[in-house]
Point group: C2
């Protein structure tokens, strides 16, 4: 059997990278020749986590075949978020915490999704189910994923199960979750030196709701002016992406990790419908979404309902 | 919160009925107001299992709403195999052992699929994960599901995990799996008194492969002549279904549970393509598929490949 590649989503966030490394490790322990790979650049936040716990970034790939015929997806399932040649390989397993959409297989598979805040929380259970111990540095990486997905335990996606996993993992990793977590988020949220091209792409995911093709990109910021101070330049870049990908809507979400709100920039011919969906009026293409920090739980369901 | 309905697929087999009853029981033990329901008639085999272990058949429903807004699917996920108003309710969970197709949600959910031979094998794990004991009569029902899906442990879908579960469940149920299992299969395989209308519908599932809309129905028989002796009458009924459902293909699979082979009857304008897919020539619309007993593992993948 050829090597099985463990793949997180495009524009990988910390959960996608950490979960790929973690699950590849677990599979190796139970005798599977697995390798973690990635589909895009590492963020500053993820780089901070990898460096803290002594990991290299996984190998960057563009296609899964022909080097393998079998993949495992972590932290995603939607085809457009996955490796480009997904249809040419067999998906052996999926470990995820998102809705299921645009996903289809020919054969039965192992699919483990749970409505929790982070893939790493599910992986924490899988280690127990397989009776494999979590090494200290892997635990640190898994904790980083939970901190990242929950914005330091504040997102509405954060569940009791994530809380329990975070406590267990912090103990194994021997770190203070609150102190380490804030340091990691701050490392990722310093966007002053990130180019608008990179901002547009950093954590951007494509969605299809009804007949609306859109991208929702999200960045975390400590200082919103890092982004909004460059709005004109950023909008030009977002409009480029809209043209290039033939999008109906680009929603750029700037999440204030201190106050737990988000400012959105909406562009494209369906922008007004995004405003109606959230019941906000745009001022210079921007609007404040009070208390909204989660793309998955607070943005995607609202748009699914409004646009599908 | 309103009651959660636990639903197996249309034309329910023993696994769909047993798993609905079993999982509803498990959910009740962990504080969820759950009720098992069914989407169609009980087969003779299932009736035998229910009677042996002292269960009533679950309540028959046609729609999930408005009595509930939340459902759990067991033993299936494809929309066309599920309750007609699936789009109007929220799927909270899926416990399944089939491929994933024609399935989509707006929200994250608990999805547990494993490439094993029977949903009951997965449920056996879930009891352990929740620390709930399996009562004797539920264990008997779960064992019945494994016997049914594996044709008494002979199907290629039957895995080591199913084997282990069957042994555990037989011990709890205090039955001899081989003796009880054969009795149950025989009770279900006596098709001499079943009308052709019921035969066509007994365990029939709709599939869409590429642009081919088809039904694959499967019956287990001890004596193939129970079916093939009435071929003309049966074909007339299958042709009715083809017309009514606008099918391109109807594959009627008669599985010989003693010899572990199947005879297929193929009707519809794409019948020849089914013959090519299995590399057999039809004689009077029938062909023998040597060693083929599993729709899921030996028929669906071949047709997916050939027709998609």
């Amino acid at each position: 059997m050829s090597k099985v590649l463990v793949i997180g989503h495009k524009n990988p966030d910390t959960d996608s990278i950490a979960s790929a490394i973690t699950y590849a490790y677990l599979k190796q322990q139970i005798g599977v020749d697995a390798e973690a790979v990635r589909l895009g650049n590492i963020t500053k936040e993820t780089a901070y986590a990898l460096e803290t716990f002594g990991f290299e970034a996984p190998r960057l790939i563009e296609k899964a075949a022909p080097e393998t015929s079998q993949v495992i997806l972590v932290d995603h399932n939607e085809k457009q978020q996955s490796v480009d040649d997904l249809d040419d390989v067999q998906v052996l397993e999926v470990i995820d915490h998102h809705r299921i959409a645009n996903f289809q297989t020919n054969d039965p598979l192992y699919y483990r999704a749970e409505p929790v805040g982070c893939t790493a929380t599910i992986l924490n259970k899988l280690f127990k189910e397989h009776g494999v111990e979590i090494p200290k540095n892997i635990a640190g990486l898994m904790l980083s994923a939970i901190v990242s997905d929950s914005l330091l335990f504040k997102s509405p996606t954060f569940t009791d199960q994530d809380q329990a996993a975070a406590e267990e993992l912090a103990a194994i990793a021997e770190v203070d979750a609150a102190v380490y977590g804030l340091d990691m988020l701050k490392a990722g949220a310093d966007l002053s030196s990130v180019s608008v091209k990179d901002l547009a792409n950093l954590d951007s995911k494509e969605f299809i709701f009804g007949d609306v093709k859109m991208v929702i990109a999200q960045v975390n910021a400590v200082d919103l002016q890092d982004i909004l101070g460059r709005q004109d330049e950023l909008e030009a870049e977002l409009n480029n992406v809209i043209k290039q990908k033939e999008l109906d809507l680009f929603l750029f979400v700037v999440t204030d990790i201190i106050n737990s709100d988000s400012v959105i920039i909406a562009l494209g011919k369906e922008a007004e419908r995004a405003g109606s969906a959230f019941n906000v009026a745009f001022n210079n293409n921007t609007a404040l979404l009070k208390g909204i920090v989660s793309r998955k739980k607070q943005i995607v369901p609202v748009l699914t309902e409004a646009l599908s």
